[in-house]
């Protein structure tokens, strides 16, 4: 049996497949790749790919005890015992996929890791040096409809609490720039409200309601946070907008310090 051994892993290196869908009624968000497009691209680079990727944040080093085909995202053939150095992705997250499945028991139908609640993937936690993962059966062909990398503002749809914000503030939300902070992980991305839009935000008492990835919530102190794949299933902070599905990958890859603009679009 082929086994890979992790030699170096940055923080938040996790196993992710497409996601653990259908579990919201049990209080479990789907997790899955922060950048689905990049995840799919690494799979499509192989003739066949296992369903599960190693999602890494600052590069990865590993070795395999037998030769194996792998992609990150270009496909390569690696030799037995070769130390493989995967460079950091240009954004926040990169993906390493193998021609075979990772031999790890799925949990509730998925191999995705939710680090926040310690669920799934490799023992419910991030990977670290020394972890060993066996490779199982051959994967399946992966197709991807690679969209051209979009630029410009991140598109949003007004959120379920948008009407709680004054219209003048909503107008400014579509014009202002926000800075991606270093406070980012798979659960959420904290933004710096450079223009001070939400400076006078009052604490609102709302019924806790469903969260989806891409929701832009405003904390009681005016801090905007974009909720990501390992979000809490429900939450009680007001949500002004939700990033459209097609733009969430690009948002997830924005490095700390990047300025981001949101453009409201109609559903």
């Amino acid at each position: 049996m082929t086994t890979i051994t992790i030699l170096r892993a940055g923080p938040l290196t996790t196993l992710q497949d497409e996601g653990r869908f259908g579990m919201l009624r049990h209080g479990i968000s789907a997790s899955g790749p922060m950048d689905r497009g990049a995840f799919m691209a690494a799979g499509a680079a192989l003739e066949r790919a296992g369903s599960t990727a190693i999602e890494h944040t600052q590069g990865l080093a590993f070795e395999a005890d037998e030769a194996v085909r792998v992609a990150w995202p270009e496909a390569r053939h690696i030799k037995a015992g070769e130390r493989v150095e995967v460079p950091a992705a240009s954004g926040n997250y990169g993906y390493v996929r193998f021609e075979r499945e990772l031999d790890i028991a799925p949990l509730l139908g998925s191999m995705a890791t939710n680090v926040t609640v310690g669920l799934g993937g490799y023992k419910g936690r991030a990977l670290r040096a020394g972890d060993r993962i066996a490779l199982g059966k051959r994967g399946v062909p992966v197709t991807t409809n690679a969209a051209a990398a979009a630029e410009g503002p991140i598109r949003v749809i007004w959120g379920i609490h948008a009407d709680l914000f004054p219209s003048a503030l909503r107008q400014r939300f579509g014009e202002a720039s926000f800075r991606i902070t270093t406070q980012l992980d798979r659960m959420g991305v904290q933004l710096e409200d450079v223009a001070g839009l939400f400076r006078d935000q009052r604490r609102l008492t709302l019924v806790s309601d469903f969260i989806v990835p891409g929701d832009v919530q405003i904390l009681g102190d005016g801090t905007p946070i974009v909720l990501m794949r390992d979000h809490q299933p429900t939450g009680g902070y007001p949500r002004i907008a939700t990033i459209v599905d097609a733009d969430l990958d690009r948002f997830a890859q924005m490095r700390p310090g990047t300025m981001v603009n949101f453009r409201p679009v109609a559903r």
């Binding site: 869908f21 259908g22 579990m23 919201l24 009624r25 049990h26 209080g27 479990i28 949990l107 509730l108 139908g109 609640v117 310690g118 669920l119 799934g120 749809i157 007004w158 959120g159 379920i160 709302l206 019924v207 806790s208 309601d209 469903f210 989806v212 990835p213 891409g214 929701d215 809490q232 299933p233 429900t234 939450g235 939700t242 990033i243 459209v244 599905d245 097609a246 559903r267």
Partner: protein, 217 residues
């Protein structure tokens, strides 16, 4: 039962991004809105319209995740026709034994003006419903207590309480099924675990089920 809040047209159907929508029965938590949300989710489970990938009942709303090709306006029109005033039929009944020895028990009881013993007796005096599962895996909100047991949350959030912690605020009792942080009053603990990831489904309690808390011996 108490479907007396007017016609189904009062439900709001809101986009939640471009891959989900929310059918919200009220903007504040009420018995009626909660029962209608649970009933509507059950109806969608039984007769799912095309293009729906997931349905989940919340405190006052139903989340509907949709396939990429689904037109929001078409689906919301279809859902509008399905929204009724029906309220959920009672679910299964569960008895949950609690050791009422939480660090905030005395404080919570004092807020209600009752000594702890009377508070516990009142707390356990009636059947509650599982209002929703949310916030964390297997975390359930149970309600509603009567008005004498409505107290605000604590000022401070406890950074982490273990699975099985029984917490109390806002006329409800909730059970942590995983370690969580909470601003609710910690009133006790239970051996009952509502979340087991090795089982599918991973939770025992469902929205709409009946819960009766009893004092552990």
């Amino acid at each position: 039962m108490n479907g007396d809040s007017g016609a189904g047209e009062d439900a709001a159907i809101l986009p939640l991004g471009d891959r989900a929508l929310l059918v919200r029965f009220a903007e504040t938590l009420s018995e009626d809105a909660n029962r209608r949300a649970i009933a509507f989710a059950a109806r969608l489970d039984a007769y799912p319209p095309d293009g729906i990938e997931e349905v989940a009942p919340g405190l006052v709303s139903v989340l509907i995740r949709t396939a990429p090709s689904v037109d929001f306006w078409r689906l919301s029109g279809e859902l509008r026709l399905l929204v009724g005033n029906e309220v959920a039929a009672p679910g299964r009944r569960h008895e949950i034994a609690v050791s009422f020895d939480g660090e905030d028990l005395a404080e919570a009881a004092a807020l209600t003006g009752m000594p702890p013993g009377a508070f516990i007796a009142r707390h356990n005096s009636k059947d509650l419903r599982v209002l929703a599962t949310g916030f964390a895996p297997g975390f359930v909100y149970c309600g509603f207590h009567d008005n004498t047991l409505v107290v605000p949350r604590r000022e401070k959030v406890r950074p982490m309480v273990p699975a099985g912690t029984v917490i109390f605020a806002a006329g409800q009792t909730a059970i942590a099924a995983t370690p969580i942080r909470t601003g609710w009053h910690v009133i006790g603990r239970t051996a009952f675990r509502n979340f087991d990831p090795a089982q599918d489904p991973p939770t025992t309690l469902s929205a709409g089920d009946t819960v009766r808390f009893v004092s552990a011996r």
